[in-house]
């Protein structure tokens, strides 16, 4: 085998680590025809499009585009991926479960040699399985941990964005294509549909009382019926009243 025709890329935003990985890779895998170094995610995506590498060593956290997005492109172009990461028990668990290879930083020559051995094997057998699905799984595992519980809402106030702690919120009210987020002192809007929002809220803390209204239970003062027989809800220490629809009235029985 004179020229393997194998092209690799290395994406790592810290220059010294990038250079070290390149030099270790030259020792561990001399048959590689070329290794292209990229210093951020954007450069890596470009390199993938141009070179269609057989192998990519990717840092997960990179400026511009994350290593996961680059991995997707690599896999789509028929390449194999090895992630490099310093420490992330969730990620490691995901790597092991998903059989996407990884290297722990600081990368040591022995470990790199082992990873190269596995890559060679897989390149020879072309036993890839469904790599795209594995990357998806990995991404799901790496997304903000576990519970998907909403703790923060980044909502627009004019042309700036304010972060609102979920425990500040009194109620959410759908309005056209926005949802109003109302706190004791201020209000802001988000584009996230109320339905998606509800999925991440604690059902004991926030109740949906209307198709377009989700309210903090502790903020409810009373529920009353107007002259037309429609139900409204008053908030503790606040003037406004919010509509309650019949379908949700049962929540207030026995309150």
């Amino acid at each position: 085998m004179t020229s393997s025709g194998l092209v690799a890329i290395v994406a790592e935003d810290e220059a010294p680590q990038r250079a070290a990985l390149l030099s270790m890779l030259a020792d561990a895998w001399p048959e590689l025809e070329s290794v292209t170094a990229c210093d951020d995610g954007v450069a890596a995506l470009q390199a993938v499009a141009e070179l269609r590498p057989a192998v990519a060593f990717l840092d997960i956290r990179m400026p511009g585009v994350s290593g996961l997005d680059v991995a997707r492109a690599v896999v789509a172009a028929g390449g194999l991926v090895v992630f490099t990461t310093a420490y992330d028990e969730y990620a490691i668990r995901a790597f092991e479960a998903g059989a996407v290879d990884y290297l722990l930083k600081p990368v040591q020559p022995v470990h790199l040699a082992r990873a190269v051995g596995r890559l060679r094997e897989r390149l020879a057998t072309r036993d890839d399985g469904d790599l795209q699905a594995r990357v998806d799984e990995l991404e799901a595992a790496l997304r903000p941990r576990g519970d998907r519980q909403v703790r923060w809402i980044s909502a627009s106030v004019g042309d700036s964005v304010r972060m609102i702690g979920i425990d500040e919120v009194l109620y959410f009210q759908a309005q056209d294509k926005y949802v109003r987020v109302v706190t004791g002192e201020a209000e802001a809007v988000i584009r996230t549909p109320l339905k998606d929002l509800l999925a991440g809220l604690d059902p004991d803390t926030f109740w949906q009382v209307h198709r377009g209204v989700v309210v903090r239970v502790a903020a409810i003062d009373r529920v009353r019926k107007d002259e037309l027989g429609k139900w409204h809800l008053c908030l503790r220490g606040r003037g406004e009243s919010l509509p309650v629809s019949g379908a949700f009235l049962h929540r207030f029985r026995g309150m």
């Binding site: 935003d13 810290e14 220059a15 010294p16 680590q17 250079a19 070290a20 990985l21 951020d40 954007v42 956290r61 990179m62 400026p63 511009g64 994350s66 990461t85 310093a86 420490y87 992330d88 722990l104 930083k105 600081p106 990368v107 903000p144 941990r145 519970d147 998907r148 519980q149 909403v150 703790r151 923060w152 809402i153 980044s154 909502a155 627009s156 042309d159 700036s160 964005v161 304010r162 972060m163 702690g165 425990d167 988000i190 584009r191 996230t192 998606d196 929002l197 991440g200």
Partner: protein, 424 residues
Amino acid sequence: MNAPPAPPPSYPLDRSLPPDVLIGGNTVWSRYRQFPVFSGPWLRGRTVLFASVIAVFAAVTAFGVGFSARDYGVGVLSGLHLLAAFTLMATAGPALATWVRYRRWPAVKERRGVVLAVLVGIGVSFVADFWASSYVEQVVEAAYRSNDQPLPAIAEEVPMAERAVALTINLAFLVVVYGLFGGGLALRAYFSEQRRWLDNHHAQEVAQLREAKQHSDLRLGVLQAQVEPHFLFNTLASVRALVRQDPAQAEATLDALVDHLRSTIPQLRDDGDGLVHSTLGQQLDICASYLELMRLRMGGRLSYAIEADEGLRARPYPPLLLITLVENAIKHGIEPKPGPGRVVVRALEDADHLNVTVVDDGVGLQPGLGSGVGLANVREQLLERYGGRAALHMRSTPGQGVEAEIRLPLEAPETTVEPDGARA
């Protein structure tokens, strides 16, 4: 045979019981009930109280007898007898039981001894009372005779039924007087005291364990948050890569790591006290050493500034808050942004607040939902320490970075930690 599995921890008899164990004992005259039943202080307090009440009663009796027998000497004599007999009745049992308790016998033996002591006390006082009553009767009778007064009519002929009723009432009265007066109630309190004390003891143990666990959780939390493993390993990866390529830079990075560890780790040592009481200066140092390390690692892409008056550095400041904001600025602001980035930490004080802002020029906040725990923890800590008086605000213009601000109420000056040698 039925020995308890472990000897219950005992408690000192001469010291008052923990407030949770007490039943009553809040008024001046019942203060003796704050001490263990059948203890020295308890017996003294109870005897004084009972003897005072009996003395009032005896004085009235003495006056009454003296008046009707027209001989106040006889009155005083019967009053004194009454005082002695009733006081003996009230205290003989408890005094014996107190003697038993100070033997510090094993629980079962002590209980038996205490019950026996109270019964013996009742018996003794019954005999004494009987003797005193008949003596007083004789004296009074003699006094009446010497005055040629008719003796107070004692109904000789009482129908049987009435006699039975009178006898029953008398007997019941005796049981009540001897039982309650002579230590019956105290006996009941004695039996429940051990249980109440043990319950309290267990509750305290549980509370202590819980507190210890919270404390170590906090220490662990601080360690993890301040020296995040990902950050530590990544820095080591940097140093490892630099050793051959650029030894000088490797040294600089190692030095920065050492500085950072020095500014964070001492807080974990001194009994965890530094975790709860740190100063703004210490917290700013942690931020500075972290940012310096990141600057070295990011190859000069990062610049930073810490702006704080020297005078503010001694202000008390909770740990973890600022470094969390700075890490966020790097992780979510600067790192994802290609090109140079800047982080500025600024501390300012106004009339009643200490405001620290962390400003970055990174990618900014994207509108949407977040589930990050770091900032949620900051809010939680602020709420726990300051109630509603502290606040965390985060504002952003997308594409232009984030400004995070922590507003703390100014603490009372005495909690300020003075730097060494500040006093003249």
